[in-house]
């Protein structure tokens, strides 16, 4: 099945114009630009021979006859978005579906999920579609300006075609996406066949010492919460050494010090501790090690520690058949220029995996950059990904 690279690039650049500013793409979920882009997409789907379908939360499907393989991603962007994040997976899906119809290939449907970028929830549209979040609960979510999800989706109410499309219409889901990390860029390879979506654990920790005058309190009498955090960070890194692999990650991204004044020994620090790994038992082992390191260090220093609720998502396995088709396609289209790799980030595929076999394919992010106006991927890699997706979607059919 040979997709049309020029037609694909034309569509990709046309989608880029929706919400384009002098600096980059601004196309948040339910904005005028987002709705206009979806209307444009629906037209493209219809022209390709698919049946457009908007559900109640604004997910847009281009349906083939059933049962079909579903391809796609999301077309809403970050507030200061990259032009490829999500858009790449939607337009490559459209081109593959169109090619399949033209060249007598298998039935392929297309989807652009809504609010993947989390203006309201986290991968909201696919979360509701896959049953991870009820519509009633989703409707109460608010964005940073306190607009409700219910209000926002009402802007698209005139486009709703019908109820949620049942997952039973599809045999599986493949999402093509930019890597949003530095691995392929560093290695010089073109394609990543995703081995799994890593699991995530995230918790807030409150460390309390004793606020004091930074001039009159001798060092040995201090209970400095910032020093406590320093020791915890060191201890966590040491203790995780025998537990992690080079692919495991952990991050202290948020730090909030009280009272945060140069002349006052900090009495309290709140920080985030987040870790990710593709293996569930390892994720749990990391949790035990991290909690222990925090508690022991705090106790050694005479500080108190309070753990907030731990949020998390378990690792999501890719379907071995779909993943195998992507690997086979990559070895033909981009021999020696591809690798198996985990996805460190969440995607709509995370949610869809609740109801369907899923697989994902990555193309490189130049400089590892994403969620930034300067996000980009070399054209040759965009086309390589399209070809791998098309070949994998064709599957056993001799196209």
């Amino acid at each position: 099945m040979k997709p049309n690279a020029d037609r694909f690039l034309t569509d990709l650049h046309e989608l880029r114009r929706f919400g384009a500013t002098g600096k980059g793409v601004v196309r948040p979920a339910y904005s005028d630009a987002d709705i206009a882009a979806r209307e444009w997409l629906a037209g493209k789907m219809a022209a390709a021979g698919l049946t457009p379908h908007f559900d109640e939360v604004g997910n847009l499907f281009g349906l083939a006859e059933e049962p079909s393989l579903l391809l796609g991603s999301h077309s809403d962007s970050q507030p200061e978005g990259g032009w490829l994040d999500g858009a790449y997976g939607v337009i490559s899906a459209l081109e593959v579906a169109r090619t399949s119809i033209e060249q007598g290939g298998p039935a392929i449907s297309v989807v652009s999920f809504q609010d993947e970028e989390g203006r309201f929830g986290v991968t909201t549209g696919s979360s509701v579609w896959s049953g991870g979040l009820s519509l009633a609960d989703a409707d109460k979510l608010m964005d940073n300006d306190r607009i409700t999800f219910a209000k926002a989706r009402s802007e698209m109410a005139h486009l709703v075609t019908g109820p949620m499309v049942p997952a039973s219409k599809f045999t599986g889901f493949i999402e093509a996406h930019i890597e949003q990390g530095p691995v392929l860029d560093q290695s010089g390879e073109s394609i990543g066949v995703v081995s799994g979506i890593v699991g995530i654990r995230d918790m807030r920790v409150i460390l309390k010492g004793q606020q004091n005058h930074a001039g009159t309190t001798p060092m040995h009498m201090r209970k400095d919460a910032v020093q406590g955090l320093m020791r915890i960070s060191h201890r966590v890194a040491e203790d995780l050494r025998n537990v992690v692999t080079p692919l495991s990650v952990w991050t202290i991204g948020h730090v909030s010090v009280h009272p945060n004044a140069a002349s006052i020994v900090p009495g309290r620090v709140t920080f985030s501790m987040q870790w990710r790994d593709g293996d569930l038992p390892r994720l749990d082992r990391m949790e035990r090690v991290i909690r222990q390191a925090i508690e022991t260090t705090a106790s050694d220093l005479g500080l108190t520690v309070e753990f907030g609720p731990m949020l998390g998502l378990d690792p999501v396995a890719m379907d071995s058949i779909l993943r195998g088709r992507l690997a086979a396609a990559a070895s033909i289209e981009t021999p020696d220029q591809w690798r198996d790799m985990p996805s460190g980030a969440l995607h709509d595929a995370t949610n869809v995996a609740r109801t369907l076999p899923v697989a994902m394919l990555f193309v490189p992010s130049i400089g590892g950059i994403s969620h930034d106006f300067t996000e980009d991927t070399a054209e040759a890699d965009l086309i390589a990904g399209l070809r791998v997706l098309a070949r994998a979607a064709a599957g056993d059919s001799a196209i």
Copy 2:
């Protein structure tokens, strides 16, 4: 010279009522409560036989005939102030001056400096009085609500008696103050004879790494500015080991992370580095070690570092004669219950030392607490300090 402890305590508790709330003392510089308290003080000074004098910034002197020994402190408080911080030194000075007049002792003047707590500057009133800050520059200072010093002091303009009192009217300055630290409280002693006011160095440091996705960026590819700060803190502590004494202090009190989100590897951290020591060469050695530790660690980790301007005050020596008189007085009034110790905090004495010989005397802070509504000192210690101050002020006169 025997001061009247009951009269002293009565005055101290009466001053406490100015700006008293249900929780504690709220008497910031130039507030109605502060101005009312100073008017009351002026009345007390006059009744004691001193001549009240308000200068242009609101410092209040109770002048004896010249030349006189000056005793005092400040009567403005922190926004959530302790009742003794500053007030103790003013009322003990008043009682000693009054006693000296009654009992034929030497000439003693009293002062309550204005804005020691830094609503506008840092020890602003004594800074202007001693020539450390010009009135023109002081007038441009603003408080947190952007009210200028010029505007605030105009609230007291009707009280101004005349120009700045020249330092030549005084032979020296002794300030009695609460320790605001835990040393005397821990040791169970009643009196601290201050050996010197430590010097301070303070600078902001900006550490820059690379902001990145916390899920997709492998650990070995990160330039995490928070991890950089952790390593710097560790390195500074190690490297200072051979340079400091148990009385040296250093503090990272302010930390500001960007973008400060749990899922983003921090690309930038701004932090304060402050250190204090009573020995000027050691203060400079600490600076070299600290800068080196920061630069080396940043370089090892591939981070960039930017040093902000370094602010500082050099150590201030106490006058050996006045200090000797305090020590002699303490060994008589509180034998085996006193010690020599540095002042880790700034006081008005820091500024007055520019123009006069100075000495300071500490009484304990219960729990080491200050700048807090719960600040307190045992009555017996307040009285012990008063007696030591009186005996030291009497000096060679056989009173």
